[in-house]
Protein backbone atom coordinates (compact mmCIF):
# COMPACT_ATOMS: atom_id res chain seq x y z
CA UNK A 1 0.00 0.00 0.00
CA UNK A 2 1.24 3.49 -0.89
CA UNK A 3 2.76 5.60 1.85
CA UNK A 4 1.11 8.98 2.34
CA UNK A 5 3.60 11.84 2.04
CA UNK A 6 3.99 15.22 0.45
CA UNK A 7 5.42 13.41 -2.61
CA UNK A 8 2.40 11.11 -2.97
CA UNK A 9 0.22 14.21 -2.70
CA UNK A 10 2.09 15.93 -5.54
CA UNK A 11 2.16 12.75 -7.64
CA UNK A 12 -1.57 12.31 -7.26
CA UNK A 13 -2.22 15.98 -7.95
CA UNK A 14 -0.71 15.41 -11.40
CA UNK A 15 -3.45 12.87 -12.13
CA UNK A 16 -6.15 15.11 -10.65
CA UNK A 17 -6.41 12.93 -7.52
CA UNK A 18 -8.26 10.29 -9.49
CA UNK A 19 -5.83 7.43 -8.84
CA UNK A 20 -5.63 7.23 -5.05
CA UNK A 21 -5.74 3.64 -3.86
CA UNK A 22 -8.49 2.59 -1.50
CA UNK A 23 -7.27 2.98 2.07
CA UNK A 24 -8.16 -0.61 3.03
CA UNK A 25 -9.48 -3.74 1.34
CA UNK A 26 -12.99 -5.02 1.75
CA UNK A 27 -12.46 -8.79 1.95
CA UNK A 28 -14.99 -11.56 2.48
CA UNK A 29 -14.59 -13.26 5.84
CA UNK A 30 -12.28 -16.30 5.90
CA UNK A 31 -13.64 -19.43 7.63
CA UNK A 32 -11.15 -19.14 10.47
CA UNK A 33 -8.85 -16.61 12.18
CA UNK A 34 -6.41 -16.74 15.07
CA UNK A 35 -8.10 -13.77 16.67
CA UNK A 36 -11.44 -12.09 15.96
CA UNK A 37 -12.15 -8.60 17.19
CA UNK A 38 -15.84 -7.69 17.33
CA UNK A 39 -16.59 -4.00 16.83
CA UNK A 40 -14.96 -1.70 14.29
CA UNK A 41 -14.87 1.38 16.48
CA UNK A 42 -11.61 3.00 17.49
CA UNK A 43 -10.94 0.46 20.23
CA UNK A 44 -11.46 -2.61 18.04
CA UNK A 45 -9.40 -1.22 15.18
CA UNK A 46 -6.60 -0.09 17.49
CA UNK A 47 -6.55 -3.58 19.00
CA UNK A 48 -6.14 -5.12 15.56
CA UNK A 49 -3.38 -2.68 14.64
CA UNK A 50 -1.33 -3.41 17.76
CA UNK A 51 -1.94 -7.17 17.45
CA UNK A 52 -0.35 -7.08 14.02
CA UNK A 53 2.31 -4.49 14.75
CA UNK A 54 3.48 -5.36 18.26
CA UNK A 55 2.69 -9.05 18.47
CA UNK A 56 3.13 -10.17 14.86
CA UNK A 57 -0.35 -11.72 14.85
CA UNK A 58 -1.97 -10.80 11.55
CA UNK A 59 -4.40 -13.64 10.96
CA UNK A 60 -6.96 -11.32 12.52
CA UNK A 61 -10.35 -9.96 11.48
CA UNK A 62 -12.33 -6.99 12.77
CA UNK A 63 -16.07 -7.60 12.44
CA UNK A 64 -18.25 -4.49 12.30
CA UNK A 65 -22.03 -4.56 11.97
CA UNK A 66 -22.22 -1.15 10.30
CA UNK A 67 -19.47 1.01 8.90
CA UNK A 68 -16.19 2.11 10.47
CA UNK A 69 -16.73 5.09 12.68
CA UNK A 70 -20.51 4.72 12.78
CA UNK A 71 -20.48 4.25 16.54
CA UNK A 72 -19.18 6.48 19.31
CA UNK A 73 -15.77 6.80 17.65
CA UNK A 74 -17.11 9.45 15.30
CA UNK A 75 -19.86 10.79 17.56
CA UNK A 76 -17.70 12.07 20.36
CA UNK A 77 -16.35 15.52 21.21
CA UNK A 78 -12.74 14.25 20.84
CA UNK A 79 -11.33 15.51 24.13
CA UNK A 80 -8.05 13.81 24.95
CA UNK A 81 -6.42 14.12 28.37
CA UNK A 82 -4.82 11.88 31.00
CA UNK A 83 -5.43 13.77 34.25
CA UNK A 84 -7.18 10.95 36.11
CA UNK A 85 -6.93 10.55 39.86
CA UNK A 86 -6.20 6.91 40.64
CA UNK A 87 -2.88 5.24 39.83
CA UNK A 88 -4.43 2.54 37.65
CA UNK A 89 -6.28 5.10 35.54
CA UNK A 90 -3.29 7.43 35.36
CA UNK A 91 -1.20 4.53 34.05
CA UNK A 92 -3.49 3.54 31.20
CA UNK A 93 -4.65 7.04 30.19
CA UNK A 94 -1.11 8.45 30.31
CA UNK A 95 0.12 5.50 28.26
CA UNK A 96 -2.64 6.35 25.83
CA UNK A 97 -1.67 10.01 25.71
CA UNK A 98 1.94 9.07 24.94
CA UNK A 99 0.72 6.91 22.06
CA UNK A 100 -1.42 9.82 20.83
CA UNK A 101 1.72 11.96 20.71
CA UNK A 102 3.25 9.71 18.05
CA UNK A 103 0.08 8.38 16.46
CA UNK A 104 0.06 10.23 13.14
CA UNK A 105 3.61 9.02 12.45
CA UNK A 106 2.89 5.49 13.63
CA UNK A 107 -0.17 5.18 11.40
CA UNK A 108 1.14 7.32 8.51
CA UNK A 109 -2.23 9.04 8.75
CA UNK A 110 -2.85 12.54 10.04
CA UNK A 111 -5.14 12.15 13.03
CA UNK A 112 -4.84 15.92 13.61
CA UNK A 113 -3.93 15.47 17.25
CA UNK A 114 -3.75 18.98 18.63
CA UNK A 115 -2.29 19.46 22.11
CA UNK A 116 -4.08 22.71 22.69
CA UNK A 117 -4.60 22.16 26.41
CA UNK A 118 -7.61 21.05 28.42
CA UNK A 119 -8.95 23.31 31.14
CA UNK A 120 -11.30 22.14 33.92
CA UNK A 121 -13.16 24.95 35.65
CA UNK A 122 -13.88 25.29 39.36
CA UNK A 123 -17.04 27.22 40.23
CA UNK A 124 -17.21 26.98 43.99
CA UNK A 125 -15.06 26.33 47.03
CA UNK A 126 -15.63 22.61 46.94
CA UNK A 127 -14.71 22.38 43.24
CA UNK A 128 -11.62 24.43 43.94
CA UNK A 129 -10.37 22.28 46.83
CA UNK A 130 -11.06 19.08 44.94
CA UNK A 131 -9.31 20.44 41.88
CA UNK A 132 -6.23 21.37 43.89
CA UNK A 133 -6.08 17.94 45.44
CA UNK A 134 -6.42 16.34 42.03
CA UNK A 135 -3.74 18.47 40.43
CA UNK A 136 -1.27 17.47 43.14
CA UNK A 137 -2.20 13.80 42.98
CA UNK A 138 -1.89 13.82 39.21
CA UNK A 139 1.51 15.48 39.34
CA UNK A 140 2.70 12.86 41.83
CA UNK A 141 1.88 10.32 39.14
CA UNK A 142 4.20 12.17 36.76
CA UNK A 143 1.36 13.54 34.65
CA UNK A 144 1.44 17.24 33.71
CA UNK A 145 -1.16 19.38 35.39
CA UNK A 146 -1.24 22.93 36.64
CA UNK A 147 -3.51 25.35 38.46
CA UNK A 148 -4.76 28.54 36.88
CA UNK A 149 -6.22 31.53 38.71
CA UNK A 150 -9.37 33.20 37.41
CA UNK A 151 -7.23 35.90 35.77
CA UNK A 152 -5.11 33.25 34.06
CA UNK A 153 -8.28 31.49 32.89
CA UNK A 154 -9.46 34.74 31.35
CA UNK A 155 -6.10 35.22 29.62
CA UNK A 156 -6.21 31.68 28.18
CA UNK A 157 -9.83 31.87 27.09
CA UNK A 158 -11.07 35.46 26.82
CA UNK A 159 -14.54 34.38 25.69
CA UNK A 160 -15.29 33.01 29.17
CA UNK A 161 -17.37 35.03 31.57
CA UNK A 162 -15.27 35.30 34.75
CA UNK A 163 -17.38 37.99 36.37
CA UNK A 164 -17.85 37.22 40.09
CA UNK A 165 -21.59 37.79 39.89
CA UNK A 166 -22.02 35.25 37.09
CA UNK A 167 -24.35 32.40 37.87
CA UNK A 168 -21.34 30.06 37.57
CA UNK A 169 -18.45 32.18 38.85
CA UNK A 170 -15.04 30.90 37.79
CA UNK A 171 -12.69 30.63 40.75
CA UNK A 172 -9.89 29.00 38.83
CA UNK A 173 -9.11 25.95 36.75
CA UNK A 174 -6.79 23.05 36.27
CA UNK A 175 -4.95 22.80 33.00
CA UNK A 176 -3.35 19.85 31.26
CA UNK A 177 -1.35 21.39 28.43
CA UNK A 178 -0.57 18.07 26.77
CA UNK A 179 -4.29 17.37 26.43
CA UNK A 180 -6.30 18.46 23.43
CA UNK A 181 -8.39 17.14 20.57
CA UNK A 182 -8.02 14.88 17.52
CA UNK A 183 -9.97 14.18 14.38
CA UNK A 184 -12.25 11.26 15.26
CA UNK A 185 -12.90 9.71 11.82
CA UNK A 186 -9.19 9.87 11.07
CA UNK A 187 -8.53 7.76 14.13
CA UNK A 188 -10.83 5.00 12.86
CA UNK A 189 -9.56 5.27 9.30
CA UNK A 190 -5.90 5.53 10.27
CA UNK A 191 -6.02 2.44 12.48
CA UNK A 192 -8.03 0.56 9.84
CA UNK A 193 -5.58 1.39 7.08
CA UNK A 194 -2.54 0.52 9.19
CA UNK A 195 -4.06 -2.78 10.34
CA UNK A 196 -5.17 -3.69 6.83
CA UNK A 197 -1.67 -3.00 5.56
CA UNK A 198 -0.37 -5.66 7.94
CA UNK A 199 -2.89 -8.21 6.71
CA UNK A 200 -5.84 -7.72 9.09
CA UNK A 201 -9.22 -8.29 7.41
CA UNK A 202 -11.67 -5.49 8.12
CA UNK A 203 -15.16 -6.78 7.52
CA UNK A 204 -17.95 -4.21 7.53
CA UNK A 205 -21.71 -4.78 7.35
CA UNK A 206 -21.29 -8.01 9.25
CA UNK A 207 -23.17 -8.33 12.54
CA UNK A 208 -22.25 -10.87 15.17
CA UNK A 209 -25.47 -12.65 16.13
CA UNK A 210 -24.16 -15.36 18.45
CA UNK A 211 -21.17 -17.26 19.81
CA UNK A 212 -20.15 -20.86 19.30
CA UNK A 213 -19.23 -22.05 22.79
CA UNK A 214 -18.26 -25.61 23.67
CA UNK A 215 -17.38 -26.78 27.18
CA UNK A 216 -17.11 -23.19 28.32
CA UNK A 217 -14.70 -22.28 25.53
CA UNK A 218 -15.39 -19.98 22.63
CA UNK A 219 -14.76 -21.52 19.21
CA UNK A 220 -16.13 -18.85 16.94
CA UNK A 221 -19.04 -16.57 16.15
CA UNK A 222 -22.23 -16.61 14.12
CA UNK A 223 -22.61 -13.60 11.87
CA UNK A 224 -24.99 -12.24 9.26
CA UNK A 225 -22.34 -13.33 6.75
CA UNK A 226 -22.01 -16.87 8.09
CA UNK A 227 -20.07 -18.55 10.88
CA UNK A 228 -16.43 -17.64 11.52
CA UNK A 229 -14.12 -19.73 13.67
CA UNK A 230 -11.47 -18.26 15.92
CA UNK A 231 -9.05 -19.33 18.62
CA UNK A 232 -9.64 -16.16 20.62
CA UNK A 233 -12.34 -13.52 20.42
CA UNK A 234 -12.16 -9.94 21.72
CA UNK A 235 -15.34 -7.92 22.14
CA UNK A 236 -15.07 -4.12 21.77
CA UNK A 237 -18.61 -3.01 21.02
CA UNK A 238 -19.01 -0.12 23.52
CA UNK A 239 -22.76 0.50 24.03
CA UNK A 240 -23.66 -3.01 22.89
CA UNK A 241 -21.48 -4.85 25.41
CA UNK A 242 -24.41 -6.22 27.42
CA UNK A 243 -26.05 -7.48 24.23
CA UNK A 244 -22.95 -9.45 23.25
CA UNK A 245 -22.45 -10.70 26.83
CA UNK A 246 -26.04 -11.90 26.80
CA UNK A 247 -25.31 -13.90 23.63
CA UNK A 248 -22.37 -15.50 25.41
CA UNK A 249 -24.42 -16.21 28.53
CA UNK A 250 -23.02 -13.89 31.16
CA UNK A 251 -24.07 -10.61 32.78
CA UNK A 252 -22.26 -7.29 32.85
CA UNK A 253 -22.08 -4.37 35.30
CA UNK A 254 -22.81 -1.96 32.46
CA UNK A 255 -25.64 0.35 31.54
CA UNK A 256 -26.05 1.91 28.10
CA UNK A 257 -27.07 5.56 28.29
CA UNK A 258 -27.57 8.25 25.66
CA UNK A 259 -24.87 10.92 25.48
CA UNK A 260 -25.29 13.94 23.23
CA UNK A 261 -23.19 16.57 21.51
CA UNK A 262 -23.81 19.49 19.20
CA UNK A 263 -21.94 21.91 16.96
CA UNK A 264 -22.50 25.59 16.25
CA UNK A 265 -22.21 27.44 12.98
CA UNK A 266 -18.58 28.18 12.08
CA UNK A 267 -16.99 31.42 13.25
CA UNK A 268 -13.47 32.93 13.27
CA UNK A 269 -11.03 31.36 15.79
CA UNK A 270 -11.82 32.55 19.32
CA UNK A 271 -10.97 29.58 21.52
CA UNK A 272 -7.66 27.74 21.32
CA UNK A 273 -8.02 25.30 24.19
CA UNK A 274 -10.64 22.89 25.47
CA UNK A 275 -12.82 24.16 28.32
CA UNK A 276 -14.67 21.72 30.55
CA UNK A 277 -16.95 22.31 33.47
CA UNK A 278 -18.09 19.18 35.23
CA UNK A 279 -20.28 21.12 37.65
CA UNK A 280 -22.52 22.33 34.84
CA UNK A 281 -21.73 19.48 32.40
CA UNK A 282 -20.40 21.65 29.61
CA UNK A 283 -17.45 20.81 27.37
CA UNK A 284 -16.48 23.16 24.59
CA UNK A 285 -13.73 23.45 22.00
CA UNK A 286 -13.48 25.03 18.58
CA UNK A 287 -12.85 22.85 15.55
CA UNK A 288 -10.46 23.74 12.76
CA UNK A 289 -13.50 24.63 10.67
CA UNK A 290 -14.51 27.17 13.29
CA UNK A 291 -17.49 25.36 14.79
CA UNK A 292 -17.89 25.12 18.53
CA UNK A 293 -17.99 21.45 19.46
CA UNK A 294 -20.13 21.13 22.56
CA UNK A 295 -20.63 18.09 24.73
CA UNK A 296 -23.40 17.62 27.26
CA UNK A 297 -24.16 15.29 30.12
CA UNK A 298 -25.75 11.89 29.66
CA UNK A 299 -29.31 10.81 30.26
CA UNK A 300 -29.81 8.45 33.18
CA UNK A 301 -32.07 5.94 31.46
CA UNK A 302 -31.02 2.95 29.38
CA UNK A 303 -31.40 3.53 25.66
CA UNK A 304 -30.02 2.15 22.42
CA UNK A 305 -31.83 4.77 20.33
CA UNK A 306 -28.77 7.02 19.89
CA UNK A 307 -31.03 9.89 20.95
CA UNK A 308 -31.06 11.80 24.21
CA UNK A 309 -33.55 14.15 25.85
CA UNK A 310 -34.08 17.75 24.81
CA UNK A 311 -33.92 18.81 28.43
CA UNK A 312 -30.22 17.93 28.44
CA UNK A 313 -29.63 20.21 25.46
CA UNK A 314 -31.67 22.95 27.04
CA UNK A 315 -29.74 22.60 30.28
CA UNK A 316 -26.34 22.71 28.64
CA UNK A 317 -27.20 25.64 26.37
CA UNK A 318 -28.53 27.62 29.33
CA UNK A 319 -25.29 27.03 31.22
CA UNK A 320 -23.19 27.79 28.17
CA UNK A 321 -24.90 31.13 27.55
CA UNK A 322 -23.85 32.10 31.06
CA UNK A 323 -20.28 30.75 30.78
CA UNK A 324 -19.67 31.92 27.20
CA UNK A 325 -22.15 34.75 26.64
CA UNK A 326 -21.34 35.13 22.91
CA UNK A 327 -22.96 31.75 22.31
CA UNK A 328 -26.39 33.27 22.91
CA UNK A 329 -26.14 34.92 19.49
CA UNK A 330 -25.03 31.78 17.64
CA UNK A 331 -26.95 29.01 15.95
CA UNK A 332 -26.49 25.33 16.62
CA UNK A 333 -26.18 23.44 13.36
CA UNK A 334 -26.29 19.77 14.26
CA UNK A 335 -27.00 17.65 17.29
CA UNK A 336 -26.66 13.90 17.77
CA UNK A 337 -26.33 11.16 20.34
CA UNK A 338 -24.38 7.99 20.98
CA UNK A 339 -24.85 4.97 23.25
CA UNK A 340 -22.25 4.97 26.02
CA UNK A 341 -21.43 1.95 28.18
CA UNK A 342 -21.25 3.14 31.77
CA UNK A 343 -19.86 1.04 34.64
CA UNK A 344 -20.62 1.55 38.36
CA UNK A 345 -17.11 2.91 39.07
CA UNK A 346 -16.84 4.78 35.74
CA UNK A 347 -13.72 2.84 34.85
CA UNK A 348 -13.35 0.53 31.87
CA UNK A 349 -13.36 -3.26 31.85
CA UNK A 350 -10.49 -4.87 29.95
CA UNK A 351 -9.80 -8.56 30.28
CA UNK A 352 -11.27 -12.02 30.70
CA UNK A 353 -14.90 -13.10 30.73
CA UNK A 354 -16.41 -16.24 32.25
CA UNK A 355 -16.08 -17.85 28.80
CA UNK A 356 -12.63 -19.21 28.06
CA UNK A 357 -10.96 -17.54 25.07
CA UNK A 358 -13.50 -14.73 25.09
CA UNK A 359 -12.19 -11.33 26.20
CA UNK A 360 -13.95 -8.02 26.64
CA UNK A 361 -12.97 -4.38 26.38
CA UNK A 362 -15.76 -1.98 27.33
CA UNK A 363 -17.08 0.39 29.95
CA UNK A 364 -15.15 3.37 28.61
CA UNK A 365 -18.43 5.17 28.91
CA UNK A 366 -18.49 8.87 28.26
CA UNK A 367 -14.72 9.17 28.00
CA UNK A 368 -13.15 6.45 25.91
CA UNK A 369 -12.03 8.31 22.83
CA UNK A 370 -8.92 9.51 24.62
CA UNK A 371 -8.29 5.95 25.68
CA UNK A 372 -8.42 4.50 22.17
CA UNK A 373 -4.67 3.93 21.64
CA UNK A 374 -3.98 2.79 25.23
CA UNK A 375 -7.00 0.53 25.26
CA UNK A 376 -6.12 -1.07 21.94
CA UNK A 377 -2.53 -1.51 23.07
CA UNK A 378 -3.47 -3.19 26.36
CA UNK A 379 -6.23 -5.29 24.80
CA UNK A 380 -3.92 -6.50 22.02
CA UNK A 381 -1.37 -7.61 24.62
CA UNK A 382 -4.15 -9.35 26.56
CA UNK A 383 -5.49 -11.15 23.49
CA UNK A 384 -2.02 -12.12 22.29
CA UNK A 385 -1.01 -13.67 25.63
CA UNK A 386 -4.43 -14.92 26.67
CA UNK A 387 -3.79 -13.14 29.98
CA UNK A 388 -4.31 -9.48 30.91
CA UNK A 389 -1.11 -7.43 30.84
CA UNK A 390 -0.07 -5.17 33.74
CA UNK A 391 -1.98 -2.22 32.43
CA UNK A 392 -5.22 -4.13 31.86
CA UNK A 393 -4.92 -6.20 35.06
CA UNK A 394 -6.67 -3.84 37.50
CA UNK A 395 -9.53 -3.30 35.04
CA UNK A 396 -10.76 -6.89 35.25
CA UNK A 397 -14.44 -7.78 35.23
CA UNK A 398 -13.70 -9.69 38.43
CA UNK A 399 -13.07 -6.44 40.35
CA UNK A 400 -16.81 -6.18 40.92
CA UNK A 401 -16.60 -9.41 42.90
CA UNK A 402 -13.37 -8.67 44.76
CA UNK A 403 -14.36 -5.08 45.49
CA UNK A 404 -11.17 -3.57 44.08
CA UNK A 405 -13.10 -0.86 42.25
CA UNK A 406 -11.31 2.01 40.53
CA UNK A 407 -13.67 4.68 41.63
CA UNK A 408 -13.26 7.48 39.13
CA UNK A 409 -16.95 8.20 39.62
CA UNK A 410 -16.44 9.57 43.07
CA UNK A 411 -13.00 10.90 42.33
CA UNK A 412 -13.48 12.75 39.14
CA UNK A 413 -17.14 13.54 38.68
CA UNK A 414 -15.91 14.44 35.22
CA UNK A 415 -17.69 12.98 32.28
CA UNK A 416 -15.24 13.07 29.41
Amino acid sequence: MAKYSVFSLVRNALSYHENWQRAWRSPDPKPEYDILVIGGGGHGLATAHYLAKEHGINNVAVIEKGWLGGGNTARNTTIVRSNYLWDESAAIYEHSLKLWEGLSQDLNFNVMFSQRGVMNLAHNLHDWRELNRRVHAIRLNGVDSEILSAAQVKAEAPILNVSPDSRYPIIGASMQRRGGTARHDAVAWGYARAADQRGVDIIQNCEVTGFVINNGRVEGVETTRGPIKAKRVGVAVAGHSSVLADMAGFRMPVESNPLQALVSDPIKPVLDCVVMSSAVHVYISQSDRGEFVIGAGSDLHVSYSQRGSFEIIEGIMGALCELVPMVSRMKMMRQWGGVVDVTPDRSPIVGKTPVEGLFINCGWGTGGFKGTPGSGHAFAATLAAGEPNDMAGPFSLDRFRTGFLIDEAGAAAVAH
Binding site: R251, P253, S305
Partner: protein
Protein backbone atom coordinates in the same frame (compact mmCIF):
# COMPACT_ATOMS: atom_id res chain seq x y z
CA UNK B 1 -38.19 13.94 25.82
CA UNK B 2 -40.62 11.35 27.17
CA UNK B 3 -44.21 12.08 28.01
CA UNK B 4 -44.68 9.90 31.07
CA UNK B 5 -48.13 8.90 32.23
CA UNK B 6 -47.74 8.97 36.03
CA UNK B 7 -50.24 6.47 37.48
CA UNK B 8 -51.20 9.09 40.08
CA UNK B 9 -51.03 12.41 38.19
CA UNK B 10 -51.46 11.58 34.52
CA UNK B 11 -49.21 12.56 31.62
CA UNK B 12 -46.36 14.94 32.50
CA UNK B 13 -43.08 15.75 30.80
CA UNK B 14 -39.89 13.88 31.61
CA UNK B 15 -38.23 16.81 33.40
CA UNK B 16 -40.59 16.21 36.33
CA UNK B 17 -39.30 12.65 36.77
CA UNK B 18 -36.10 10.85 37.62
CA UNK B 19 -35.12 7.43 36.32
CA UNK B 20 -33.78 4.92 38.85
CA UNK B 21 -32.82 2.08 36.55
CA UNK B 22 -33.85 -1.53 36.27
CA UNK B 23 -36.95 -2.65 38.19
CA UNK B 24 -37.64 -5.92 40.01
CA UNK B 25 -34.16 -6.45 41.45
CA UNK B 26 -34.79 -8.16 44.77
CA UNK B 27 -32.31 -7.65 47.57
CA UNK B 28 -31.04 -11.05 48.71
CA UNK B 29 -32.91 -12.08 51.86
CA UNK B 30 -29.79 -13.19 53.71
CA UNK B 31 -26.70 -11.42 52.33
CA UNK B 32 -24.39 -13.31 54.70
CA UNK B 33 -25.50 -16.62 53.27
CA UNK B 34 -24.64 -15.89 49.66
CA UNK B 35 -21.34 -15.91 47.79
CA UNK B 36 -19.41 -12.84 46.61
CA UNK B 37 -20.40 -13.70 43.06
CA UNK B 38 -24.10 -13.59 43.94
CA UNK B 39 -23.71 -10.42 45.96
CA UNK B 40 -21.81 -8.72 43.11
CA UNK B 41 -24.51 -9.83 40.69
CA UNK B 42 -27.16 -8.18 42.86
CA UNK B 43 -25.11 -5.05 43.43
CA UNK B 44 -23.60 -4.36 40.04
CA UNK B 45 -24.87 -6.52 37.18
CA UNK B 46 -27.79 -5.17 35.17
CA UNK B 47 -29.84 -6.63 32.33
CA UNK B 48 -29.38 -3.45 30.28
CA UNK B 49 -31.84 -4.93 27.81
CA UNK B 50 -31.97 -3.90 24.17
CA UNK B 51 -35.72 -4.17 23.66
CA UNK B 52 -38.48 -4.30 26.25
CA UNK B 53 -37.07 -3.09 29.57
CA UNK B 54 -38.73 -2.66 32.97
CA UNK B 55 -37.52 0.30 34.97
CA UNK B 56 -38.29 2.46 38.01
CA UNK B 57 -39.16 6.14 37.86
CA UNK B 58 -40.05 8.60 40.56
CA UNK B 59 -42.25 11.65 40.04
CA UNK B 60 -39.84 14.06 41.81
CA UNK B 61 -41.52 17.30 40.93
CA UNK B 62 -45.04 15.99 41.32
CA UNK B 63 -46.56 13.43 43.64
CA UNK B 64 -43.07 12.13 44.59
CA UNK B 65 -44.29 8.56 44.20
CA UNK B 66 -42.44 5.65 42.61
CA UNK B 67 -43.78 3.47 39.81
CA UNK B 68 -42.56 1.28 36.96
CA UNK B 69 -42.38 1.67 33.20
CA UNK B 70 -42.06 -0.91 30.47
CA UNK B 71 -40.18 0.78 27.65
CA UNK B 72 -38.65 -0.33 24.37
CA UNK B 73 -35.05 0.84 24.66
CA UNK B 74 -34.60 0.82 20.89
CA UNK B 75 -37.49 3.09 19.93
CA UNK B 76 -37.79 4.70 23.40
CA UNK B 77 -41.53 4.07 23.15
CA UNK B 78 -43.23 3.66 26.56
CA UNK B 79 -45.30 0.48 26.44
CA UNK B 80 -46.87 0.30 29.90
CA UNK B 81 -46.99 2.13 33.22
CA UNK B 82 -47.69 0.17 36.40
CA UNK B 83 -47.55 0.71 40.13
CA UNK B 84 -45.01 -0.59 42.61
CA UNK B 85 -45.92 -4.07 43.78
CA UNK B 86 -47.76 -4.92 40.58
CA UNK B 87 -46.52 -7.71 38.35
CA UNK B 88 -44.75 -6.50 35.19
CA UNK B 89 -47.30 -6.60 32.37
CA UNK B 90 -46.57 -8.67 29.28
CA UNK B 91 -46.03 -6.20 26.49
CA UNK B 92 -45.10 -6.34 22.84
CA UNK B 93 -42.80 -3.90 21.06
Amino acid sequence: MFLIDCPYCGPRQQTEFHCHGEAHIARPKDPDAISDVEWADYLFNRSNTKGVFYERWVHNHGCRRWFNLARDTVSDRILAVYRMGEKPPRVKK
